[in-house]
Amino acid sequence: MRSLNSYGDLCQLSEVIVLRVFWAILLMSLTLSSWAMEEYMDVQSGSLMGLGHVSYGARFNERHNVMVGAGYVPKLSYHREMMLYSLRYRYDHVAQWNIGGMTFKPFSVGAGFLIGDHSDLFLILPDRYPEGYYAPSALRIVFNYQASLQVTQKVNAYFDMSIVDVGLLGYVREPEFYRDNYDYFGLEGITNWGFGVRYVF
């Protein structure tokens, strides 16, 4: 059976415009931000953000960060080719240790919006559905934890663990299911991981 994967040109155009404008405005707002304490470039792989994800981030005081980024997944046997766009917030806890001359920051948490740019996904509900029938299939909320290592004054490397919205919701609703079926208190069933490098300007 053939699925109705393509929808109206107008709808598709709207989505493209929304995606591009979303990304462009946020990028501009960050690059023009003179009020940021620190600005940095971040390259990440995995943890739901794409095979590669480049972000531009700004730190606004000791702890609060905002990042906007774009990622890419090439065509794989288990994945369609697509671009990903993100807007993320991260809180860096002040705890840190010196290890072999490097600073280890064990605890940062964050959340962000992730948009998948593919014609089979939608941000605006296609016309064939009644109003409000589905939430946007192209938009996910991703929660994450990071532990980072400051390898030089300007370079940080980090490990990232993430949970997608339905995973967190499911775990809160039915923790026993995840604990019964997965290791590490059931977190194995909902977490994903990746790593990245951050360069401070």
């Binding site: 059976m1 299939s137 079926n181 790593f195």
Partner: protein, 277 residues
């Protein structure tokens, strides 16, 4: 100074090495991957074989039951509770899972529901629901479960699954295929169809067509409540099973005198009464 630099470089090298080792493992590049970790035990092909072997083993049975579970989307835990309860019911020979296994069609949701389905002691047959086809769910479905339309025969009754998710698929249900599947010269007690959505209000003619094809019962989900109805002038009963959130399921009992349907929870069942509409 030289040794400090050497130490720093060693640490960077160690981190890089660790990153590459980790990268060699399978990690999730996005929520929209299409390779859920599901075993063959959930596939339709496997379960048809499994049921045929079971039928051979038990021989003819005058009386048996079929558990009807639907819409486990977003609640794999309650789905597991229901299935573990169904596993204890001695008369249940197989399970029909009438759609919406996933809520948003992403890989992780399919993995959770597969985890539960793999615990079924009886053969378990899923039919695609509208939510299952969201995002890249259709591709996942085809890879994990197999066909969207299929049939099997058990104890002289034919069970026919069909896709009727009109918003997500073109030209469904496939009426020609249904007509073909309902025909046949074999000795048959009942012809029972199952799909996610009961005949749509805009397409109630389907109920009449199914009746004309010789169908005796339709089993569905989607409406998130128990419902058992027939069009007064058609007299083909359609039973909708509620969703799993409330730990409820349906039970179809087949015996020489006919079939009965019950609305069940984990402690008791009540016979469902068909209403005319």
């Amino acid at each position: 100074m030289f040794f400090k630099m050497l130490k720093l470089k060693s640490n960077i090298a160690l981190f890089t090495l660790m990153a590459f080792v980790l990268a060699a493992c399978d990690y999730e590049v996005s929520p929209w991957a299409t390779n859920p970790d599901c075993s063959d035990r959930v596939s339709i092909e496997y379960n048809i074989k499994r049921l045929a072997e079971y039928e051979k083993q038990v021989g003819p049975r005058d009386t048996y039951q079929v558990a009807l579970i639907s819409d486990p989307q977003a609640y794999p835990g309650t789905f597991q509770d229901i299935l573990e309860h169904v596993n204890t019911l001695p008369e249940v020979d197989f399970v029909l899972l009438t759609g919406d296994l996933a809520d948003t069609g992403i890989k992780a949701e399919y993995e959770w529901v597969c985890k539960v389905m793999e615990k079924s002691k009886q053969p378990i047959f899923a039919v695609i629901g509208n939510h299952d086809a969201l995002a890249f769910g259709e591709e996942i479905w085809d890879n994990v479960f197999g066909p969207q339309d299929y049939s099997f025969t058990y104890q002289n009754s034919k069970f026919i699954a069909y896709n009727d998710n009109k918003y997500e698929f073109a030209n469904v249900p496939d009426r020609d295929w249904l007509a073909q599947e309902t025909q046949g010269d074999e000795l048959r007690d009942y012809t029972i169809v199952f799909s996610h959505i009961p005949p749509w209000d805009k397409d109630l003619e389907l109920s009449r067509e199914l009746k004309d094809m010789g169908v005796d019962l339709g089993v569905h989900g989607h409406v998130h409540r128990f419902d058992y109805w027939q069009l007064a002038d058609v007299q083909l009963p359609h039973f909708a099973t509620t969703f799993t959130k409330e730990k409820e399921f349906g039970l179809l009992s087949i015996n020489p005198a006919g079939f009965t349907l019950e609305n069940c929870n984990l402690s008791r069942c009540e016979v469902a009464q068909v209403r005319n509409r």
